[in-house]
């Protein structure tokens, strides 16, 4: 009560205070529920143990493989997803609603379905697998399979975000740039990308984080082989039955990486908003 009377002398914001009070109290249970399991993981393993486990070859292999594959898959998603996102944002297709649904589909598919579907496509007996095998490409059970899975499940995050970013740009800006003599690549490079930068970055980070956490489709389509297809989530799952310490170590690292990525992305997006 005291607070409110003192703050009523400068002009506006009493709503702000209410949000901090009642809403703050009401939001605590959910916030605690979301953070407690993560805290529990960190409490379960000592820092000394963590560092010691980090030296184990299978832990390092899994981390290396996860970082390598997710970097490549995110790059592929950006390169191949940007044109689709732009077409999606600008194009007036007859089937744009169908296209929209197709892009959303991997988001809601159970990972096991994605894994089986990819096996039916790129597996040895899959609809493309036979042709690829004749050309000498063997995909199932290879690192390539891990990357394919990651692109499939994670691409929608980037495409949707980028598409939103692109459709937020006033088309007249692009048109006037064209009138001033800028060609299409120039417009895209100097106008469209800078203006949608935050959406592109945010989408990339979300895609990367989703690829990093991918498990179900990977173990079905790519199998489980240390150093080749055993990414961090797979090593955590196998480790849970063999060596709990390894599972805990990798879980902590996975959480730290994801948290850091999301945090940095949000910070950069924030700064972007402020400067614009």
């Amino acid at each position: 009560m005291n607070n409110r009377t003192t703050r009523q002398s400068p002009p506006p914001p009493t709503p702000q205070i209410r949000i901090n009070g009642i809403w703050g109290a009401l939001s605590m249970p959910m916030l605690i529920f979301l953070s407690l399991p993560i805290l529990a993981l960190f409490l379960r393993i000592s820092p000394a143990n963590l560092v010691e486990n980090l030296r184990q070859p299978e832990v390092l292999q899994a981390i290396g493989l996860s970082l390598g594959t997710t970097m490549i898959s995110t790059l592929i998603i950006i390169l191949a997803g940007t044109p689709l996102a732009y077409a999606h944002a600008r194009g007036q297709f007859r089937f744009s609603r169908l296209m929209d649904t197709l892009i959303d589909l991997p988001l809601v598919l159970p990972p096991a379905v994605a894994g089986v579907a990819l096996l039916m496509t790129f597996g040895r007996r899959g609809i493309l697998g036979g042709v690829l095998a004749d050309l000498g490409f063997h995909i199932a059970f290879t690192t390539t399979a891990v990357i394919i899975v990651q692109v499939f499940v994670a691409a929608p995050f980037y495409i949707k975000s980028a598409s939103l970013g692109f459709s937020g740009i006033d088309q007249e800006l692009e048109m006037s740039a064209a009138l001033d003599g800028a060609n299409t690549p120039q417009i895209f490079r100097f106008l469209t990308i800078p203006l949608s930068w935050s959406a592109l970055l945010g989408g990339s980070v979300m895609s990367w984080a989703r690829a990093l956490g991918e498990f179900g489709a990977t173990i079905i389509f790519a199998g489980n082989f240390p150093g080749r297809t055993q990414t961090m989530p797979l090593a955590i799952y196998i480790g849970f039955e063999m060596d709990l310490d390894i599972a805990l170590t990798l879980s902590v690292i996975l959480i730290l990486l994801s948290f850091l990525a999301l945090f940095v992305a949000k910070y950069m997006l924030n700064r972007d908003w402020m400067s614009s």
């Binding site: 597996g123 040895r124 007996r125 199932a140 059970f141 173990i219 199998g223 082989f225 799952y237 196998i238």
Partner: protein, 277 residues
């Protein structure tokens, strides 16, 4: 008001029906108590199909007996029995869990016996894309082999078997390391090994014979592994010491050990005792 009356009537009718049903149930129980005996068996999960058929066989032989079988992992059953779960018979997939139950006092020392074997086999897609004709072909380079992970029992047994092969002069000391180079995946359960071989995603996998037996022959080829290096799992059966149906339990064990019982087990991929004795 009319609606309310209708609803009340409904409730009354339902109540009457329930009452009758309960009465019937009680009667049925009395009947079964006076005439029908129940034989309760705890059996390892891998025995599911084979023991269901053995149970039916037993019921046709003794029509006044109802066979009730609870299937679970042997370790889980051993726990339950040690905690005092009531029952007449225990069939374990290994000696260790039988030993645990003997230690708990629920099975008398010396009353348990081996009744069937299970062993590792190679499984291939029906059209044999790797053109494998025998166990020795596992070393051929370019072959895609799928094993279960070492955290899965059959995966650990497969590694042990390859180790034994490496100690056998016929296969050579580097046999295991050469074969392991062909491994493309360590699956997290034995069903995943089966499915991926059926799908033809790899050339060969290693599973238990009883796992492969459930799959129609048109989907899968099975190649035996030489007995000298194979890991042969022994299954043990024993009556529960405090069973009220001791004679029935003994009868069931006799059925399992009889030529007819052994034939049923071998239909489901298990190896008859006589083959190894």
């Amino acid at each position: 008001m009319r609606l309310l009356i209708t609803r009340l009537q409904c409730l009354v009718v339902i109540g009457l029906l329930l009452g009758t049903a309960c009465g019937d149930g009680a009667n049925a129980e009395e009947v079964s108590n006076s005439n029908q005996k129940q034989l309760t068996i705890y059996a390892a999960a891998s025995l599911t199909e084979a023991f269901q058929q053995l149970g039916q066989q037993f019921e046709t032989e003794q029509p006044d007996v109802e066979v009730v079988i609870s299937f679970a992992g042997s370790q889980q059953i051993a726990q339950q029995l040690s905690q005092g779960a009531p029952g007449d018979l225990f069939a374990s997939a290994n000696e260790k869990q039988m030993f645990n139950v003997i230690n708990s006092g629920r099975v008398l020392q010396g009353s348990d016996q081996e009744f069937v074997h299970n062993k590792l086999v190679l499984i291939l897609p029906a059209d044999n894309p790797g053109r494998i004709n025998g166990f020795g072909d596992l070393t051929r380079s370019g072959l895609d082999l799928i094993l279960a992970d070492q955290s899965v029992p059959v995966g650990a047994y497969a590694q042990e078997m390859l180790q034994r092969a490496a100690q056998d002069p016929r296969f050579g000391t580097d046999f295991k390391s050469i074969v392991l180079r062909n491994v493309v995946s360590y699956e997290e359960n034995v069903r995943a090994v089966l499915t991926k071989i059926i799908l033809g995603e790899a050339d060969v996998g290693i599973v238990y014979a009883s796992d492969a037996a459930g799959v129609p022959g048109t989907d899968l080829q099975v190649i035996p592994i030489p007995d000298e290096i194979n890991i042969i799992a022994s299954y043990f059966i024993a009556p529960i010491a405090d069973s009220p149906n001791d004679q029935l339990a003994q009868d069931f064990i006799s059925l399992v050990l009889s030529p007819q019982g052994q034939e049923i087990l071998s239909e489901y991929g298990f190896a008859e005792l006589s083959q190894h004795e």
